[in-house]
């Protein structure tokens, strides 16, 4: 499945109960996500895009755009 930024935004919005999060919104600071919500976003993206994300990468994820880049990187990675 093609990974698009606005689709990642929508998916994050569904988990957090937010209308139209913006790419540069910080998931925790701006969108009010708890750390457990971040994990659930990761699980959702993995299932939606059929990719595998390493929780250790999350340390560098702050905004929705960061998540998008992480997902892109993983979808390109050889499995």
């Amino acid at each position: 499945m093609l990974i698009e930024l606005d689709d990642v935004c929508r998916t994050v919005g569904l988990v957090l109960g937010r209308h139209d999060p913006k790419p540069d919104d910080r998931i925790q600071a701006d969108l009010g996500g708890e750390s457990i919500d971040v994990l659930n976003i990761i699980v959702t993206l993995q299932q939606k895009y059929g990719i595998s994300l390493d929780e250790a990468d999350l340390v560098n994820v702050s905004t929705v755009r960061d998540l998008y880049h992480l997902a892109l990187k993983r979808s390109d990675a050889p499995t």
Binding site: G13, L16, G17, S35, I36, V59
Partner: protein, 522 residues
């Protein structure tokens, strides 16, 4: 005053402030907060409550996160003669208003002046007491007075306030100390929420009782790093967390050798089912040996009922169930089959008798009556068995309780909220463990009233409304909300939701294959 003569929580803090005023009661953000400072803060806040007309037995709702203010408010409320009612600080106004109504609180302590406004409830901050004196005169407290109410999920969707007395708390503090051989030389490291029983009683009252070192951290469910750093830096000997937190630490940490956790004597694993793989994996990664121990407890017995013995290899049965150990001092555990005691090895309802047992739920005679077996045993709602040596094994739950990040949620709570969202005709909430580090999570399945003509945008809006409603009232978000066609939820002949079947068909993919899931497509 020797420790065995302490009769109330106030005695406890006052005595430490008298005996060791300069010693740190706890470290917060690496700064020590002395017992003297703690005690003065408690008295100032109590004085402020007195000015506001608080009298003995009044309930004061405390919506504060981990930090020094929590202790000033909590012990200050009790000092003023009131009953403290800790609440999840991220609770939305609706949840706080519901709690305030249930316990009849007219005061809510909030972190900042701009915080939540709840109808009919006056809000105040700990800073509001800065100008108050710390030498006021306060009501005498009886050891059998209620110190605080621990609200837990109720099976009917209404939270229940477990009444915890000073006597029960001090009894359980002593049981915990004996059960885990805790001493004043232990160093506690905790990020557990102080507004919840394990974080509050085991991880703050026990070190206060002993005058042991406590390093308190902000609550963090998913970021293990500050926790592991604090254990390493302070040479922590005692910590506690639910299983998922240890699993998470294992996943997060690429190089365990960065941390040195070998100072740990006890790492309690409780509040969630304990996985043998977590015990083995964590100990292997960090070079520990019989430090991670399984424990069991419930608010109705104050908090702790039993733990495995530190330093002894864990006991795991043939089905992979980890024993949570034998009963603490003066605690009797019985297993009931058809409401009568069962033989060793037989799985049944776990009931607990303890001098730390609650007298019941605040202002809820019906739930209180249903709580007890033979008057003195509390029904835990959990299923398990005792082996020949009276080691307890927890095998399941009587009710479809959902454990979401260490919080207990009854399906009915989430379902009532979801059913009130426009466009939803019926809903079912189940706990799903997708196999990741987050562990069991709340999943909500909602049948929509009129699926015909709903476009993608409207489906999204419905999901967002469900998430918002649950977050506003329960303070957590479901991991996933699925919208189903009408009659997509499996029911019994008399119309009750078949939660187990729904979970099984979802996990096997049969629910998706049957075409009842409208949204989302993953």
């Amino acid at each position: 005053m020797p420790r065995h003569e302490l009769r109330t929580l106030i005695d406890l803090v006052e005595e430490q402030a008298r005996q060791r005023p300069e010693q740190a009661a706890f470290y917060w953000e690496d700064q020590p907060v002395s017992y003297d400072a703690l005690w003065r803060g408690v008295n100032r806040f109590a004085a402020r409550l007195g000015q506001l007309g608080v009298v003995r037995g009044d309930r004061v709702l405390i919506g504060l996160p981990n930090g020094p203010d929590f202790f000033a408010a909590f012990y200050g409320a009790i000092r003023a003669g009131a009953i403290a009612v800790p609440a999840f600080p991220a609770s939305g106004p609706e949840r706080l208003a519901a709690l305030a109504r249930l316990c009849g609180a007219t005061l809510l302590v909030v972190p900042g002046a701009t915080s939540t406004v709840v109808d009919g409830v006056r809000t105040l901050t700990v800073a509001d007491s800065d100008d108050c004196g710390s030498d006021g005169v306060f009501p005498d407290i009886d050891p059998y007075d209620i110190a605080f109410l621990q609200y837990t999920s109720g099976s009917t969707g209404m939270p229940k306030g477990v009444m915890l007395s000073h006597h029960g708390l001090l009894t359980n503090i002593r049981q915990l100390i004996a059960g885990m051989a805790i001493t004043s030389s232990d160093c506690f490291v905790s990020w557990l929420p102080v507004y919840h029983d394990m974080g509050l009683i085991l991880m703050t009252m026990v070190p206060f009782f002993l005058g042991a070192k406590l390093v308190l951290l902000p609550t963090s469910l998913a970021n293990a790093r500050p926790w592991l750093v604090a254990i390493t830096r302070h040479r922590g000997t005692l910590t506690a967390a639910p299983d998922f937190a240890y699993r998470l630490a294992l996943r997060y940490v690429r190089d365990p050798s960065v941390y040195d956790l070998t100072s740990l004597r006890v790492a309690l694993n409780a509040a969630e089912p304990v996985r043998p793989t977590t015990l083995a994996g964590f100990e292997q990664a960090f070079g520990l040996h019989n430090v991670l121990i399984a424990g069991y407890g419930l608010a109705e017995a104050t908090v702790g009922v039993c733990t495995w013995t530190p330093g002894v290899a864990p006991l795991v049965d043939a089905r992979g169930v980890v024993s949570v150990g034998g009963a603490f001092n003066d605690v009797d555990i019985q297993i009931l089959e058809n409401d009568a005691p069962a033989a060793a090895g037989v799985v049944g309802d776990i009931v607990i008798q303890s001098p730390a047992n609650t007298r019941g739920y605040f202002s809820d005679a019906a739930e209180t009556a249903a709580l007890f077996w033979r008057e003195s045993y509390v029904r835990t709602g959990d299923l398990g068995y005792l082996d020949e040596d009276r080691h307890l094994f927890i095998t399941g739950r009587r009710k479809n309780i959902i454990k979401h990040g260490g919080e207990t949620i009854f399906p009915q709570e989430a379902e009532q909220i979801t059913d009130s969202v426009p466009g939803v005709r019926r809903s079912a909430a189940v706990g799903i463990d997708a196999g990741g580090p987050e562990g069991e999570q709340l999943y909500v399945f909602a049948e929509v009233s009129k699926p015909a003509g709903l476009d993608e945008r409207e489906l999204q809006e419905t999901v967002i409304s469900v998430v918002q409603a649950i977050h506003a009232q329960l303070g957590i978000r479901p991991a996933r909300v699925y919208l189903l066609k009408p009659r997509g939820i499996p029911l019994t002949h008399n119309g009750k939701t078949r939660h187990a079947e729904l979970r099984d068909t979802y996990e096997s993919g049969a629910l998706r294959a049957s075409g009842v899931i409208l949204f989302p497509g993953y």
